[in-house]
């Protein structure tokens, strides 16, 4: 399974990108391909291979949970009843309950069940955990993604648009940071963790101004300093060791830190 994340600030264009993938919006310029197909010309072929969970989930209020799932199943060539039963049980959703009586979290859970049961090749999630409490959020990530992955791990891709990068970090193999509708930074998550490092250093006495050529950013506060490195952490560590620090630590940036610092990282990318 491959997980792809699209972090971006509010208004960056994450939802717009997703809607373009689904032919719910037409791009002003450029071309778009999903599974090598044009979503505008081969809309049904594209949509039958993916499932989408929008940020604001709405259902027909007169339908029960069971009716809603039957309705969605009617559009699909395949529907995994075992996964449906398992997820209904895990989420504690009553199939005879009307959707109008569901809470926001339960509606999202129902939308996720409807998205996973057809076993699509691509699962598109737009802010799937917004509005959910931390327990449900964690459960959602573990349960839903687990259920999705278990069916056919080799041919499953999850495309997540989210602000909560830290919660999805373990699932993201590749990410694309979007800024004002454009790709700011795209790379495999492991490569990013390998490349972008954060070095923390503490000296016995304030060292004066640190001169570290090649560092992306140096934040100095008295005896302590934090340095951002872009693929040159070893060289910077050597330079710092030469100054005999009291403590020296180097760790990979988390995806959230990469996202927060993305402008600095891309400006100085080698």
């Amino acid at each position: 399974m491959e997980g792809s994340g699209s972090p971006g600030r509010n208004g960056a264009g994450k939802t717009t990108t997703i809607k373009c993938l689904l032919n719910l919006l037409r791009p002003d310029a450029g071309t778009l391909r999903v599974f090598g197909l044009d979503p505008q010309k081969e809309e049904v072929a594209v949509k039958s291979r993916l499932s989408y969970v929008p940020d604001a989930v709405a259902f027909y209020p007169w339908m029960t949970v069971r009716d809603t799932l039957e309705y969605f199943a009617s559009f699909r060539a395949q529907w995994n009843r075992a996964i449906e039963a398992d997820l209904l049980r895990r989420f504690g959703l009553d199939p005879s309950q009307k959707t109008s009586a569901l809470s926001k979290g339960q509606r999202t859970q129902l939308a996720l069940i409807a998205a996973i049961c057809p076993e699509p090749e691509l699962l598109v999630l737009d802010e799937p955990t917004s509005g959910l409490d931390p327990i449900v959020r964690r459960e959602f990530i573990e349960t839903v993604i687990g259920a999705y992955q278990s069916s056919d791990p080799e041919n499953r891709t999850v495309f997540v648009s989210t602000h909560l990068i830290s919660e999805f970090e373990g699932l993201i193999d590749e990410f694309t940071i979007i800024e004002q509708g454009r790709e700011l930074l795209a790379m495999p998550a492991d490569d990013a963790r390998e490349r972008f490092k954060k070095i923390r250093v503490r000296f016995a006495a304030a060292p004066g101004r640190l001169d570290l050529t090649g560092a992306l950013r140096v934040k100095q506060n008295g005896r302590e300093a934090e340095i951002l490195a872009n693929g040159n952490s070893e060289r910077l560590l050597e330079a710092l060791r030469a100054q005999q620090p009291e403590e020296l630590r180097c760790e990979s940036l988390s995806l959230e830190e990469i996202f927060v610092s993305s402008k600095i990282l891309t400006q100085a990318a080698p």
């Binding site: 049904v44 949509k47 709405a58 027909y60 039957e70 009617s74």
Partner: protein, 290 residues
């Protein structure tokens, strides 16, 4: 039964029930003498009520989806948009035919003595035309505006406005020609409305026709005022609140002003075009609604 068809039936059920009630109730509550002959007020009321019902049926298939927030959900499903259109049209058309049947059956039971075959065909023709016009209007307006309130007003206003605007073409012709002309206008409007609605659905995006918020043109100076920090110190909360409210509702205000103009236009043209006391043809009697 197919889940999509079942959903569609349930979706338009409230509108269909209202349409049936609107079509049938006046027939039973208005005195029989008032119902026979289109020149009578009772017949006109029954006609308007039926038109309103047909319009509700036209607004329901897409208006309900927009109102419930399920339109995007529907478009996101792996189903051909032509199929969505077909299912919605078939279900709504069957609903409309059932309403027409309900109206016809009510008339048959209420009026013991049937009028001539010519009069019956006349009534069927008028009702069919009204149904088609109101239904098509409801469809294209909801798909264009994605707002039932705006769609309702345009569905109500567009046909009378069109009839009024084109009435000059046959003002010196006989009643029959005027009727045929008016019917032609409504037929063209209805067919064009259906084609437009279909096109709007096939090309529908997850946004209204404006693609966002309507704004006053910048050259009119609305919303383009920039203030320096020196001005922000002025405390004028009432003015700021009023300006905010005005700006918040400016699209509604613009639409309202447009509607008012249309109303006034219809009133003025009606006064100029024909004498209200004079017996009118059934089609022109529709203008009395306004």
């Amino acid at each position: 039964m197919n889940a999509l068809v079942r959903k569609e039936i349930r979706l338009i059920l409230p509108a269909w029930t209202a349409a049936l009630a609107l079509a049938v109730a006046p027939v039973w509550f208005i005195s029989v003498n008032d119902l026979v002959g289109w020149q009578h007020q009772g017949a006109a009321i029954a006609c308007y009520a039926f038109a309103l019902g047909a319009m509700l049926l036209g607004l329901a298939p897409y208006g309900q989806e927009c109102g419930l927030g399920t339109f995007s959900l529907l478009l996101a499903q792996p189903v051909c948009r032509r199929r969505i259109w077909r299912v919605k049209m078939i279900v709504a058309a069957v609903g409309l035919v059932l309403v027409l049947t309900g109206l016809a059956v009510s008339y048959r039971f209420r009026i013991q003595e049937l009028p001539s075959r010519e009069v019956i065909w006349h009534v069927v023709w008028i009702c069919g035309m009204i149904a088609l016009t109101a239904f098509a209007g409801g469809l294209w307006t909801t798909l264009l505006f994605r707002q039932v309130a705006a769609a309702l007003w345009f569905t109500l206003l567009a046909p009378p406005a069109l009839l009024t605007a084109t009435s000059k073409l046959w003002e010196k012709s006989s009643d029959n020609i005027a009727m045929a002309g008016g019917a032609g206008v409504l037929a063209v409007y209805s067919v064009a409305g259906l084609f437009l609605a279909r096109r709007l659905l096939l090309r529908a995006q997850d946004t209204q026709w404006t693609g966002g918020t309507l704004s006053f043109p910048a050259r009119l100076g609305f919303g383009t005022r920039t203030r320096t920090s020196a001005h922000t110190g002025t405390r004028r909360p009432l003015g700021a609140l009023l300006w905010k409210e005005f700006y918040l509702h400016h699209v509604s205000l613009l639409l309202g002003a447009g509607m008012l103009l249309l109303h006034l236009l219809v009133v003025v043209v009606r006064r100029m075009e024909y004498d209200p006391g004079q017996e009118k043809s059934s089609l022109l009697a529709l203008l009395d609604f306004w």
